[in-house]
């Protein structure tokens, strides 16, 4: 690792003023917190939007301002914000930024200036997106998939300025994600410390690394579709817009292909699922291993499963388009690849469970969230097997079954990991513990509450309750019991939503008043817990970079007194340790 040797000689300029330290910061830890706070803020906006939608569905007419347009705008913004501006930004920009350099023993990202730009572009994209709430016509109401022609056809809510701001915001976000992504990938490849081989990296780093590779290769597809749609909307081209007669008038467009947009969008959209899921897989592997005091089961298998999922995620996209119509052989191909991707995914679930097997399980708050993730991901994954088949998907595709499926698998499951990971790493970020009792309360209400929300939705889907509808009165096939269930779901959703205030209070309170954590409260072996200071100072490692002698999962090693061995402990140190313990035994 010639690079790392040199990195020790590099000057570490510590920022001195408030502005360079906290605002225009090039320190990966500060940028991570900036990313995380922005993402959480915009996520709260999306949470409120979902509450408004649920109020309309559960108690129709309870909100005076809720008309169909507002409902679709809320739905569109909720989906887009949650998937891209919250989850993607939080996992890559937040956790990726904070953990990659600390876990691989680097002083910072390799391109700190680019890293700073990445955050400011992200903030700009968020501001542009939020600005669309305040323009005439409001934000886009085209659904988060923005399918043309309706997304830019007059009559769709927000087809004026709203959709333009949405597309511009996406383009800016992609620039931000690319700048960040170049950093994460290059840092992992080039800036690992002495002894940190690729196969000694914690699975968190592997997950975020692979997700970043996916982001770098998949976001261009969204960029292409956004730019071409902007051309159609602003310059009158016909990339996606077909011949249309609108209010008796032929529109200026002709001959474009809406299906082309769908292919481009989902070529991004499916890897996006794994851009969110792979970091969650990685983080949860580390949580389970630490809190079960056991090495992760099948580490290499886990790594290769992450890589395999990443590769396969590029050849399954058209399973989102079964109802758009396609050649039956294509449908067969995409159904097959979709089922094949379940193999490495199931392998990971087995390995998590086998890690727990006969482990010394500590039911700490991070562990509770990790266990809840396994359950939730299992439920969401199994319904994915249903929907991956063309003949099952076609009748269920436009029902609440799909809403239940994707919220379980890529809404609730990753968010549970986000919470677990925040409870786990908060002591490293702030030097203080989050309150345990509040954490447990937050966990149980969130976990049981999300099941109260999404479990019944599977049943509503089987009943045939269509998704995307603004109101469900007056349909004979929807029984009264479904309306009652909708009211129940809404109550559960509001309770879960309000409970998140508990979490925010816990974050705020514990940052200043929490119990001091010490450097390594969970007695974890990976590198980020071995920093000389907590929270880590600028440059992370003091005068000398750490040297890594082992993988990140040496827990409960037979014959060693301490139940974990930090990555920085060499065999030589180990002999010292065991000799000491022998003497003590004598």
């Amino acid at each position: 690792m010639a690079y790392a040797e040199q990195a020790e000689r590099e000057a570490v300029h510590e920022p001195t003023s408030f502005i360079t330290r906290y605002i225009w910061s090039q320190d990966h830890k500060v940028i991570a917190v900036q990313y995380a706070l922005t993402a959480i803020f915009v996520g709260l906006v999306a949470l409120v939007l979902s509450g408004l939608m649920r109020l309309q569905i559960g108690f129709p007419g309870s909100l005076s301002f809720m008309d169909p347009s507002t409902y679709y705008q809320a739905m569109t913004m909720h989906g887009m914000i949650m998937v891209i501006y919250l989850l993607t930004a939080l996992f890559l920009g937040g956790f990726g930024n904070y953990l990659i350099p600390l876990m691989i023993g680097a002083r910072d990202m390799v391109f700190p200036y680019l890293n700073m730009l990445s955050y400011w572009f992200y903030l700009l994209s968020v501001l542009v997106l939020l600005a669309s709430f305040f323009v005439p016509g409001g934000p886009s109401g085209a659904g988060w998939t923005l399918y043309p022609p309706q997304s830019i056809t007059p009559g769709t809510p927000g087809s004026g300025a709203g959709i333009v701001l949405m597309l511009v915001s996406l383009a800016i976000f992609i620039v931000a994600a690319t700048m960040g992504g170049l950093n994460y990938v290059t840092t992992v490849l080039q800036a690992r410390t002495h002894g940190m081989t690729l196969f000694r990296m914690p699975l968190t780093v592997w997950g975020i690394f692979m997700a970043t590779v996916l982001a770098l290769l998949a976001f261009p597809a969204l960029f292409v579709s956004a730019v071409m749609m902007l051309f159609d909307r602003l310059l009158g081209t016909s990339f996606f817009m077909p011949d249309m007669i609108l209010l008796g008038q032929q529109t200026e467009h002709s001959g474009g292909s809406p299906i082309l947009f769908q292919h481009l969008f989902w070529f991004f959209g499916h890897p996006e699922v794994y851009i969110v899921a792979l970091p969650a897989f990685g983080l949860v592997s580390d949580l389970i291993s630490v809190h079960a005091r056991k090495n992760i089961f099948g580490y290499r298998m886990m790594v290769w499963a992450i890589v395999a999922i990443g590769v396969l995620s590029f050849v399954v996209w058209a399973h989102h388009m079964y109802v758009s119509g396609m050649n039956p052989y294509f449908g067969f191909f995409f159904a097959t690849t979709t089922l094949v991707i379940a193999v490495p995914t199931a392998l990971k679930v087995y390995n998590w469970v086998l890690t727990l097997w006969r482990g010394d399980i500590h039911l700490t708050v991070p562990m509770l969230f990790a266990l809840a993730f396994i359950l939730t991901f299992l439920v969401g994954g199994l319904t994915g097997l249903f929907l991956g088949n063309v003949i099952v998907d076609i009748p269920l595709s436009d029902t609440y079954f799909v809403v239940a499926h994707f919220h379980m698998v890529m809404g609730v499951a990753p968010i549970l990991v986000v919470f677990g990971a925040i409870y786990h790493w908060f002591p490293k970020v702030t030097g203080r513990m989050l309150d345990d009792r509040l954490g447990k309360l937050h966990f149980w209400i969130t976990f049981l509450g999300t099941y109260a929300i999404y479990f019944p939705m599977h049943y509503l889907g089987f009943l045939g309750m269509p998704r995307r509808y603004y109101a469900y009165e007056g349909y004979e096939f929807i029984p009264q019991s479904a309306h009652d269930l909708n009211a129940f779901i809404t109550v559960a959703a509001l309770i879960v939503g309000v409970t998140q205030l508990l979490f925010l209070y816990n974050l705020l309170h514990s940052t200043f008043r929490g119990r001091p954590a010490g450097p390594n409260p969970w007695r974890a072996a990976s590198l980020e817990w071995q920093t000389p200071q907590t929270p880590p100072a600028h440059g992370n490692w003091g005068a000398k970079l750490p040297v890594v002698h082992r993988w990140a999962y040496d827990y409960s090693v037979p014959g060693v007194q301490q139940d974990y061995i930090p990555q920085t402990v060499s065999e030589h140190d180990m002999h010292g340790l065991s000799a000491d313990s022998d003497e003590e035994a004598d």
């Binding site: 590099e10 170049l182 597809a221 081209t237």
Partner: protein
């Protein structure tokens, strides 16, 4: 507290930049992979769209790209820019600061010339009645050349900063790294332009063959 002594002896500066070079070149390669993906997807969209009924090729006898003389000149200019930057890069390796400055300056000027030439090509298309929204093929012409030009403008930004570095007397190793990155980027954008030029001026039969091979036909 964590500020380490900055080593000022030339050997260590060279070694430090040697390692930064590896990271920077790796980062640049990954970035080029991302751009490749971007334009690959654009080209797939282009091929798919070219198979619809309303496609009027720009290479028709009466269309503006039947004899794309201007585009050939632009290609030549961009190629010269790439050569000039390669010259600057090699001169840097031999420590020839002045010589590399000439090559480096020429490289950027050629790129500027290329952009002006592309704008002239746009203007020609407009004048022929092939504006951006007139036919799908001209929409793609504006889209692809425009995005390629944007990438070149980004490169010119880095070029301008580096040119300032010559003035401000940056250390040779630091300057060398920047020149090297610019040269790599210029070569890449030249290759990309050649591909786009080829794609935009191919015959409908070629599109049909490619589309059939991709299963888009």
């Amino acid at each position: 507290m964590n500020t380490l002594p900055l080593q000022n002896d030339p050997d260590s500066v060279r070694a430090e930049y040697g390692d930064r070079r590896r990271a920077a070149v790796a980062g640049m390669r990954i970035f080029l992979a991302v751009i490749t993906m971007l334009f690959l997807l654009f080209l797939i969209a282009f091929i798919a769209r070219s198979q619809s009924g309303d496609w009027r090729p720009l290479t028709d006898p009466a269309a503006p790209l039947s004899r794309p003389l201007l585009l050939w000149i632009n290609t030549l200019v961009l190629g010269l820019g790439s050569l000039a930057l390669q010259w600057a890069r090699v001169a840097m390796r031999y420590g020839q600061r002045g010589e590399s400055l000439i090559g480096f300056g020429l490289g950027g000027l050629c790129a500027l010339g290329f952009i002006v030439g592309q704008l002239a090509a746009w203007w020609q298309l407009e004048r022929w009645g092939y504006g951006v929204a007139s036919t799908p093929s001209s929409s793609f012409f504006f889209l692809l050349t425009g995005l390629h030009g944007f990438h070149l403008l980004g490169g010119l930004l880095a070029w301008a900063v580096t040119l300032g570095g010559y003035w401000r007397g940056w250390a040779l190793a630091r300057l060398q790294l920047r020149v090297e990155l610019c040269a790599i980027y210029w070569h890449y954008l030249l290759a990309l332009w050649l591909l786009l030029f080829l794609a935009l001026t191919s015959s409908p039969q070629t599109y049909r063959t490619i589309a059939a091979l991709c299963g888009l036909g």
